[in-house]
């Protein structure tokens, strides 16, 4: 397999103001810290972790919606962190994003046709019969009738709006799409429709996905490989079968154990270890292994030394002192 995307040392620090009026200073929020990642052409890489772990920031860095503080992203052989704005705009056609909130992501004053056509116009197309034909084709592709083109976002349900968002993201025929929690704002009965649609489109158009979600069931279903993120770091990475059957990092184990049972006969209360406390602030990440404050197996070394990434079997990497 060939990588479509490779990231090395990818880091994003946001400056956060702190202190009172007299002692104002900024401290770095390490949203993404020294991440290395490879996404193969045509695969779906799942990215899971709790809110605030940096998964959305990582998704935005990979398509350079935001510039990194350090590190590189190689997209199809080109280092997109070094492109000038013109070159970046051209590359951007190949890299798109689908957002979580189909209510907030669509301009309420634009018609469906304008929303879907806008990326074409930005990239030099004209508002002509050909562009309109492309809008029709996109509507058809996402399962909406062509007659909705003159309607406005508020006339649609959440699932339909997400279809419009997908049409807009795909109209430039990208190769790589970041799906940032694309179903978590939708009603349960509608989520499966959108998941199926994303899978169908992947097959039809040969897309590569980064699928960001906190729902481990959906991620397991749609992904080929899964990365687990905690406080800006990828702590475990494996193909999905290995990861769910044999999770090595205590955080991955805890995440899987916390998923509610699929049947009342398998209730987890009292039978599974629970993580204590909440995810610490990324402003003051714990020393050593960032998970040590919540880890049931923490040892003295975990407080002092950051664990290295170890490959236990080919394709399964984990950053934990217990392993390797």
């Amino acid at each position: 397999m060939t990588p479509l995307i490779e990231a090395f040392g990818l880091t994003k620090h946001f400056s956060v103001r702190s202190g009172g009026v007299l002692h104002r200073h900024t401290i770095p929020l390490r949203a993404v810290d020294d991440v290395a990642l490879r996404i193969e052409s045509g695969e779906t890489l799942g990215l899971v972790g709790e809110s605030g772990c940096g998964k959305s920031t990582l998704g935005r860095l990979l398509i350079r919606l935001i510039p990194p503080t350090a590190g590189n992203v190689i997209f199809d052989g080109t280092d997109i962190t070094r492109l000038n704005p013109g070159e970046l705009r051209e590359k951007r056609q190949s890299m798109q994003i689908i957002f979580q909130d189909p209510y907030g992501a669509l301009n309420p004053r634009m018609s469906v046709e304008d929303i879907i056509m806008e990326p074409l116009l930005i990239h030099g197309a004209r508002r002509n019969a050909d562009s309109r034909r492309q809008v029709t084709a996109m509507l058809d592709l996402v399962g909406l009738p062509a007659r909705v083109r003159d309607r406005f976002p508020h006339e649609f349900s959440g699932g339909q709006r997400q279809r419009i968002g997908i049409a807009r993201a795909l109209v430039l025929r990208p190769r790589f799409v970041v799906c940032d929690e694309p179903v978590s704002a939708l009603d349960v009965s509608v989520q499966a429709q959108i998941v199926n649609l994303l899978q169908d489109l992947q097959g039809e158009l040969g897309l590569t996905y980064l699928f960001i979600a906190h729902d481990l069931g959906v991620v397991k279903h749609i992904s080929s490989r899964v990365a687990v993120m905690y406080l800006g770091k990828i702590v475990e990475f494996a193909d999905k079968r290995t990861l769910y059957a044999n999770p090595l990092h205590p955080y991955t184990q805890a995440l899987i154990a916390a998923v509610p049972a699929a049947h009342p006969a398998r209730r987890s209360r009292g039978r599974r270890e629970r993580l204590a406390d909440d995810i610490p602030s990324a402003l003051h990440p714990p020393s050593g292994c960032r998970f040590h404050t919540r880890c049931p197996h923490a040892m003295p070394i975990c407080r002092e030394q950051e664990p290295r990434v170890t490959e236990t079997v080919p394709g399964h990497t984990v950053a934990c002192h217990l392993v390797g």
């Binding site: 709790e50 998941v195 069931g217 279903h221 995440l255 509610p260 987890s268 406390d277 909440d278």
Partner: protein, 323 residues
Amino acid sequence: MPLLAVTNLTTAFATSRGEITAIEDVCFSLDEGEILGIVGESGSGKSVTALTIMGLLPQPPARVAAGEVRFAGEVLTKLSDARMQRVRGPGIAMVFQEPMTSLNPVFTIGEQVIETIRAHERLSQRALYARALEMLEKVGIPSADRRMADYPHQLSGGQRQRVMLAIALTCRPRLLIADEPTTALDVTIQAQILDLMMDLRDEFGMAIIIITHNMGVVAETADRVLVMYAGRIVEEAPVARLFDHPLHPYTRGLLQCVPSLDQDHERLVAIQGTLPDPARRPAGCRYSPRCRYAVPACTATIPPLATFDPGHTAACIRVPELT
């Protein structure tokens, strides 16, 4: 006598498009110490059911158009606001999805817990403080004595939900209604809060209504389950029965469309279509436009809830043929 008996409850809202019924003909009961799960998606009426029981809907625009809520022998839907105020707290307490908007941002956690106790009991300042501290410790707030002086924004989402539970439980309610209590929380925190609610039920013996869209939350907590769709109950069953033998096509669809960790699916079994607009609900069975088993008779009349096994009811005319 059940602790709570809801009969034929219908709540309507006056809107610019005329009066819309949010819930219709809702009937169920709940025993002391029992946990009832109410499952539904947006517009199902699960939250309106809870708010009608609590008497928390502003009237107008809301109106209890029919039916009644009977709690511990008293008809709540006929009570004055002042009498209802005395039921809330020691009788029924409620926690909501978003604890940040339920807590007052300008008062400390301690002040808010103490305020709730003071509203219902006459105690000295010292005794109030001690009771508040005890409650915060009971819900697992770490170093609760220091947290008493914190403001809501200084707490994480999980801790805020713990504080909401502490406030709800200060008056030892006989019924706790939890409306999507873990929806805004991460999965590891959700597991903590669900465990906590079960522990508190064991300790205090209160009944719980847990409202959720998540079948997993129901599987983890409930003794019995109501499934609601577009304002009506479509199925009711003991929890194991519902998961083993769902009768209504909507319940079956809900159980199938969520990918589980235990199984591999090539493709998800999606429910087609979208939830109906409350102002333009389909005729007959409201699920019929999305139902793969629908026949013309389904759109003729609203199917009534029929009993198929002891404690197991469903509102679908095709159940006898399909199961």
